[in-house]
């Protein structure tokens, strides 16, 4: 019994999660191409299969069977380590995000989260911070000036935007009083706190865009000035890993945002039919991802100096003010 609870169930959950995430990634590329196509008055991919649903499979096969090339001028160890270090944290972030209420399966109560650690939020921050290394190492190991510039931009961008993000998380932590994402979803906050948290959403979402290197903050790979930034020298499956990382970050960030701001898996009738929680969570995450893509197709990329200036002169002070007000209100109430 102990053995099932300690090893078997978490292992199964982790495997299911990874499979879902990877499939989700594949169809996210399809979803993004479709949505962007519609925004630009095109049809988007529609050749392979019904509605072009075969495109992700074709893409995956193409990437896997491409010839593996390691350019001669790169630092071989770090060149291979880069994509691996990028993808592992991206997959690991989701471990602390609850995707649904406890379900009864095979006569056992199974919480729909891989690991309910009591430092969930800090775990998210830590793993996201480690994710920077994949990009930095890849860019440096490529031994190419475009890659290096992309990597340098990444490190500055990620470090800068982690600050307002962390401070806003502190403010939310002050209101929820717990770091565990499971408890954050389970507890009921008074309505004024909910509204106040929602007020922070636009700012938080901006930092998330920067942390996931999504447009309009995709400076690390600015194709019209840096070729492809840090991933210029990558091809085949290693390129695919970087590509996956970006989308997995998007999914994970959406999951965290939904958990913090929009009540996670909560919705009508979840108490009666717990399984609905999973569906609500998926819908909310999908809506958030749509927001990512919407921003991408609507806004032009910012310049590098604008990016950093915006962070340090606007977001950072704003988040400090937000945190200060929150702290005062929490103490007074």
């Amino acid at each position: 019994m102990d053995w099932t609870n300690l090893i078997l169930i978490p292992a199964v959950k982790a495997i299911v999660l990874i499979v879902v995430l990877l499939t989700g990634f594949a169809y996210l590329t399809w979803f993004e191409r479709k949505v962007v196509g519609r925004f630009q008055l095109r049809y988007g991919p529609n050749r392979a299969g019904k509605f072009g649903l075969g495109h992700p499979i074709a893409d995956a096969l193409k990437m896997i069977f491409k010839e593996e090339i390691i350019p001669g001028h790169v630092d071989k160890i770090l060149y291979v380590l880069g994509p691996a270090l990028a993808i592992a944290p991206a997959l690991a972030i989701f471990a602390v995000v609850p995707v649904g209420p406890d379900l009864m399966l095979f006569g056992q109560k199974i919480p729909m989260v891989v690991a309910d650690v009591n430092i969930g939020l800090l775990y998210v921050l830590a793993i996201a911070g480690v994710g920077t290394y994949g990009v930095i190492l890849g860019g440096w190991a490529s031994n190419n000036k475009y890659s290096l510039l992309g990597a340098l931009r990444t490190s500055a961008q990620m470090l800068s935007y982690e600050l307002p993000m962390g401070i806003m998380l502190i403010a939310i932590l002050l209101m929820t009083g717990t770091l565990s994402l499971v408890q954050i979803v389970n507890q009921t906050l008074p309505w004024y706190f909910r509204v106040w948290i929602l007020l922070a959403f636009p700012f938080y979402f901006t930092t998330v865009l920067a942390e996931t290197n999504r447009s309009p903050f995709d400076l690390p790979e600015t194709e019209n000035e840096l070729v492809a930034g840090f991933q210029t020298e990558y091809g085949g499956i290693k390129f695919a890993l970087y590509y996956m990382t970006e989308y997995l970050h998007m999914i994970a960030a959406s999951g965290v945002v939904v958990t913090l701001f929009f009540g996670g898996w909560r919705g009508p009738f979840v108490a009666q039919v717990p399984f609905l929680g999973l569906i609500y969570f998926a819908i909310k995450v999908l809506a958030m991802i749509f927001l990512f893509i919407w921003v991408r197709t609507s806004l032009p990329r910012v310049r590098y100096d604008q990016l950093l200036k915006f962070c340090w002169t606007f977001l950072f002070p704003m988040s400090l003010i937000y945190m200060a007000i929150t702290a005062v209100v929490v103490v007074l109430l």
Binding site: L125, S155, L179
Partner: protein, 207 residues
Amino acid sequence: MFLFIVFAAIAVVAALGVILSRKPVYSALFLLLNFATLAAMYILLQAQFLAAVQIIVYAGAIVVLFLFVVMLIGGGELGPGDRETSRQGAALRSLVSLSNGLPKGDKETRKQGDAATSLASPHGSAAPRLRGSLALVLAVLLLAAVGYGLVTGHLFPVQGNAAAFGQGSVEAIGAALYTDYLLPFELTSVLLLVGMVGAVVLAKNEG
């Protein structure tokens, strides 16, 4: 116990890697590995919060900054002949900077104080003498705080207080930091602020 030995071994190997690597980038990465194993050991000790902070602060920020600097400066490989000369060169350079720094030290501390006060009055309208004396007062206050802590014993660990840290939970550590260890905590933050202001001053005006 078994896990501890594994992590300890990795930590030692990583630490050796830091000082034996020929490329600065590899040194930084071994340092990262070392920090990661330290975090793993904290988890073995049930100190999850410390582990997370270890990763966030050291792995997430400090080593990234190291890499940033290494990339900006170039970070080429040290040749076999480079080794001795560069070491001697570094020693020499640090000696020179030390001897340069000694007479300037007084001036620099004053400058840091200046910056602290000029933050209060951004246009620097106050007379230099006034700013200097204000900096002196602040420094004396800081020293007085340290002295007070030393005399009353607030700067020393509270005896038999290991239980206060509970299971290394966030609540327990927070409570301990803001009650028993309030003075050292605040002094450290002031110290960090002074360091930050000093760095800004040194970077801003070279003269």
